[in-house]
């Protein structure tokens, strides 16, 4: 580092970044030269906490990995255990799980869109997006009783069934959200401020997305056609037909487009599933005995979420969770150099990394913390994935 370089810390408690992370940004004038990332502020030791719990207890810990995608973590956990048991849930359970899953995606993307607008200074749109998000949370409250953590998935079944009047209410809310989202989408694309702040900012070309193993809306915005719901369908995703949102340029504007399109597509999925909701009883809940190991993946709002679990004597012996944000952790250090400092929060926000989710890998050896790319990590610690 040269003498006149100026190192600006962004975070860990910064108004520009919503979650605790520290970016040490080396500047020369306005231009970012180098970025160093310091994590660990939200490390809670989830995998350790999972160990030693029985399969039903561990479910509650798994949902606490992340508050934005609590259902997703529950679902991934339950899918893993059901894979080990070789169990196929009844159709109604699958249908309700699909509805919950898509509602989760809607609220997560709306929340993100709100943050994105906040970062570029459009407070009104931030409030609009969050107002729509409350409607989705109302649906959640109706079905599960919770706004953030739901604890509705159980191994083999659900905790509660949907009431008779619920589908009507959900349809109404979801349609209204989709309509408003379309309006905001059109407004955003016409709005000079949004386009000029987001276009050609934080561009990830397709080759880079592939190299870094990105998944989810970011990869789709760069033109990679990948979606776990398509390539490894679960629940009702193989039965209903839906479009995969796709972009090309891979910049922040494209990511906004892809995510808002997905909100509208999720609304359509919910409508389709609810119109064919089978009328049957869901099985009662009972405690499970699980032995052996298994893995599963689901499409979280941010990409592919992978769970590996090994059970011994009906206790979790080893758990490994790989969240989608894990692959964007280091890409920031490559994306930021060369950009002006004002774009740093925009780029960070446009990736939508979830630090609560990702802070799990910390390899300490002889007092030295190693940071590893995924490939190196897999090779070195021979972890499945």
């Amino acid at each position: 580092m040269r003498v006149h370089d100026f190192v600006m810390p962004v975070g860990p408690q910064s108004p520009a970044i919503k979650e605790p992370i520290l970016l040490k940004v080396c500047l020369e004038g306005e231009e970012v030269q180098k970025v160093r990332m310091v994590t660990g502020y939200t490390h809670r030791g989830i995998e350790y906490l999972l160990e030693g719990k029985n399969p039903d207890q561990a479910l509650y810990v798994a949902s606490r990995v992340c508050g934005i995608c609590s259902i997703t973590h529950e679902r991934a956990y339950v899918r893993t255990v059901e894979n080990i048991l070789g169990y196929d849930a009844p159709e109604r359970v699958k249908a309700i799980r699909t509805v919950l899953f898509e509602l989760e995606r809607m609220q997560s993307h709306l929340l993100w869109a709100g943050f994105m607008m906040h970062e570029i200074g459009l407070e009104t749109l931030f409030n609009y997006f969050w107002r729509e998000r409350e409607k989705v949370l109302d649906c959640f409250e109706k079905i599960t009783g919770g706004r953030v953590h739901h604890n509705i998935n159980k191994i083999r079944t659900l905790r509660y069934d949907m009431e008779e009047e619920d589908p009507e209410f959900i349809l109404q809310q979801v349609r209204s959200v989709a309509r408003k989202t379309r309006d905001y989408y059109n407004d955003c694309m016409k709005e000079e401020v949004v386009v000029s702040r987001l276009k050609n900012v934080g561009t990830i070309p397709k080759s880079m997305a592939l190299e870094w193993g990105l998944t989810g809306p970011i990869a789709r915005a760069s033109g990679v056609r990948i979606d776990t719901r398509k390539i490894d369908p679960y629940d009702w995703y193989s039965r209903i037909d839906f479009e995969m949102a796709a972009g090309k340029r891979g910049d922040a504007l494209e990511r906004l487009k892809v995510r808002l399109t997905e909100v509208m597509e999720s609304a359509r999925i919910v409508e389709r599933v609810l119109s064919g909701l089978p009328d049957e009883k869901i099985p009662p809940h009972s405690l499970s005995r699980v032995e052996g190991e298994g893995h599963a993946r689901v499409e979280a709002p941010r990409g592919e979420l992978f769970y590996y679990l090994r059970f011994k004597n009906n206790r979790v012996e080893r758990a490994k969770i790989r969240t989608p944000s894990f692959s964007y952790m280091k890409i920031l250090e490559e994306l930021l150099p060369g950009m002006v400092v004002g774009d740093v929060p925009v780029i960070v926000a446009s990736l939508d990394p979830c630090f609560s989710c990702l802070e799990r890998v910390l390899v300490e050896k002889n007092g030295r913390v190693e940071e590893l790319r995924e490939k190196e990590f897999r090779r070195k610690y021979s972890c499945p994935g």
Binding site: P12, Q13, S14, P15, K18, E19, P20, G40, Y41, T42, H43, R44, G45, I46, Y48, L49, Y60, V61, R64, V65, C66, G67, I68, S70, L111, F126, N127, W130, R131, E134, R147, V148, H149, C354, S356
Partner: protein, 138 residues
């Protein structure tokens, strides 16, 4: 109830799951809108009256919480939001748990829940305002 002044709030994000973070932010959005009560969420601890802490205290952020608390001018009030801040919540047994929060800084108001509803968060902040007014009276 009338306030002597508009309380400014600084939110510290601890090592939580984001759930409480969302519910605290939701109080500033149209449905709950705390600004109608004169409460403003600020981004600097130096001009805040109330410190809202959500999430668990871990070994890495314990010092940060202390720094933020020290940067605030007296009288100041601390509101612990969520099971994580109150007791460690679901992560209490973790090797990285360095709390609960009241072991690090003095806490005036506890808002339990995992996560507490936005109404409960607002109620917690208003309880904090009462403490603040009592403190400024002497």
């Amino acid at each position: 109830m009338t306030f002597k002044k508009s309380p400014w709030v600084f939110v510290f994000h601890g090592a939580g799951c984001n759930g409480c973070n969302l519910e605290v932010l939701a109080v500033a959005t149209p449905r709950y809108d705390v600004e109608r009560l004169g409460i403003v969420i600020k981004h600097s601890p130096r001009n805040a009256d109330i410190l809202v802490v959500e999430g668990m205290v871990n070994k890495k952020n314990a010092d940060r919480i202390r720094t933020v608390y020290d940067q605030m001018a007296s009288p100041k009030v601390v509101v612990a939001v969520g099971a994580c801040a109150v007791s460690g919540g679901p992560f209490a047994e973790s090797y990285n748990h360095a709390g609960p929060l009241d072991r690090i800084i003095p806490v005036d108001v506890y808002v339990p829940g995992c996560p507490p509803r936005p109404e409960a968060v607002i109620d917690g902040i208003l309880k904090g305002v009462e403490v603040l007014e009592r403190a400024s009276k002497g």
